[in-house]
């Protein structure tokens, strides 16, 4: 796999990538690709040769598997759900449901069929995606390597593509909720008529671009911070695990075990933060602007 500690760490933080290499890229064996081609990247220069059209197969695989696990567990519970005495399994699932439902009821004032399922999915899915980092760092990549895959990064939230695409989906929902509850006009005026207002028409027209810049930055900052916070926390955590493995080899548990215990806190906390911020952003988007007439 890798010889030096640096290579080991870099290797562990590289995704299994299936992508289109640009013509002229040098392949791992030293030859040059004459034309664009879809390949699994097996060394850094092949990775560099890929542009936008590349998929992190491992991230997508694990996020898909864990999302499917989430749906499987909850759909099973939903199928069993009845008004009588619940089984222990149903009880656990209902605890999650009620937890999310209470948060939604406390925070979200408008009516929406989407918000509850959205928050539940975000929370539980991210919880699962965070939680698999507690598997020792070499188990899954080792198995993948044995199966012939060069790179394998099994924690999907350590991939910014994953976290940012989720947070930008939330941005899309923020805009959609805002338009749905306040209309297109309300949405545009929320971007252009705040925070600076003036009764003087000319001054107001001058203020509009300033407001627009401020509000658009504010709007974009939400998903960026949301996605990067999750990525950053999980990346840092994973990095320590990989570092421990790189430096201490078989004795990595000396560092990895307490770090994993610490992560028992971080894992649900980060899932919770992502969920609650999604909820807060969406309830802000769906709320009537201050002073607006009904």
């Amino acid at each position: 796999m890798a010889n030096t500690q640096t290579e080991y760490i870099q290797h562990h933080l590289t995704n299994l990538t299936y992508g289109k290499v640009a013509p002229g890229t040098e392949s791992c064996s030293g030859s040059v690709y004459e034309q664009a081609q879809w390949i699994f990247a097996e060394c850094p220069q092949e990775l560099d040769g890929m542009g936008f059209w590349a998929f992190h197969v491992d991230s997508l695989f694990w996020s898909g598997v864990l999302g499917a696990l989430f749906i499987f567990l909850f759909a099973r519970a939903a199928k069993q759900a009845h008004a009588g005495v619940p089984s222990k399994f149903l009880n656990i699932i209902e605890v999650f449901y009620e937890f999310i439902d209470n948060q939604v009821k406390d925070t979200f004032q408008a009516k929406s069929k989407l918000i509850g399922p959205l928050c539940l999915t975000v929370f539980f899915w991210i919880l699962l995606m965070n939680a698999i980092k507690l598997i020792p760092v070499d188990f899954i990549p080792g198995a993948a390597h044995w199966a012939g895959l060069e790179y394998f990064k099994y924690v999907p939230v350590v991939d910014p593509n994953i976290t940012l695409s989720m947070s930008f989906s939330v941005l899309f929902l923020i805009i959609a909720f805002s338009i749905k509850h306040n209309g297109v006009k309300g949405f545009i005026s929320s971007l252009t008529l705040q925070p600076f207002q003036s009764n003087n028409l000319l001054l107001q027209i001058i203020l509009i671009p300033i407001n627009l810049v401020l509000e658009v930055v504010g709007l974009l900052a939400k998903p960026v911070s949301l996605g990067l916070r999750l990525f950053g926390n999980m990346f840092a955590g994973e990095f320590v695990f990989v570092l421990a493995a790189a430096m201490m080899g078989y004795f990595q548990f000396v560092v990895a075990w307490p770090w994993a215990v610490f992560h028992l806190l971080v894992v649900p906390l980060q899932a919770y933060i992502f969920m609650i911020l999604t909820l807060v952003y969406l309830s802000m988007a769906s709320a009537k602007p201050e002073g607006a007439a009904e």
């Binding site: 936008f52 590349a54 998929f55 909850f74 449901y97 899915w125 989906s169």
Partner: protein
């Protein structure tokens, strides 16, 4: 940070899982919980009602018990009264009967005395006549002297 087409895949996953959750998970669990909440509320209500019913029934029982006690006391008193009345009546009856019997006996005795006296009177008058016959040695006309003899007998 190398952003690439992974984003597309993840957005699709995201939409898919949220949609699944919305269609096949959320409403059913919510419905079941709501139903259970109602069932529990009904159960608690029923328990409350049963408690109230029990209290009411206990009250009713003690009330009817009191009533029964009062009734039985009344009955016993009435019975006692009746018994003493019967005794009194019997006593009075017995006294009256005794008196009646005594009076009857007295009357009988009186009658006996009278009839004995009558008999004696007749016998005495016969004896007097016989005696007078003997004394007078003469025929005395019974018819002529009957009035005299009756008078004599009556005076005896």
């Amino acid at each position: 940070m190398n952003m690439n087409a992974t984003v597309i895949g993840q957005v699709i996953w995201f939409a898919l899982f949220v949609w699944f959750c919305m269609k096949i998970v959320w409403p059913f669990i919510g419905k079941a919980l709501e139903e259970r909440r109602q069932a529990i509320a009904e159960g608690l209500n029923a328990a409350d009602r049963a408690k109230r019913d029990l209290a009411a029934a206990e009250e009713k029982v003690s009330a009817s018990l009191d009533e029964a006690k009062a009734q039985s006391a009344e009955i016993i008193e009435a019975a006692n009264r009746r018994a003493s009345q019967i005794i009194e009546e019997a006593q009075a009856k017995a006294v009256a009967e005794g008196e009646r019997l005594a009076a009857k006996a007295k009357a009988e005795i009186e009658q006996e005395i009278n009839s004995a006296r009558e008999q004696l009177r007749q016998e005495v008058s016969a004896l007097a006549i016989a005696g007078a016959e003997q004394i007078l040695k003469a025929e005395v006309d019974k018819g002529a002297h009957k009035q005299l003899l009756d008078q004599l007998a009556a005076e005896l």
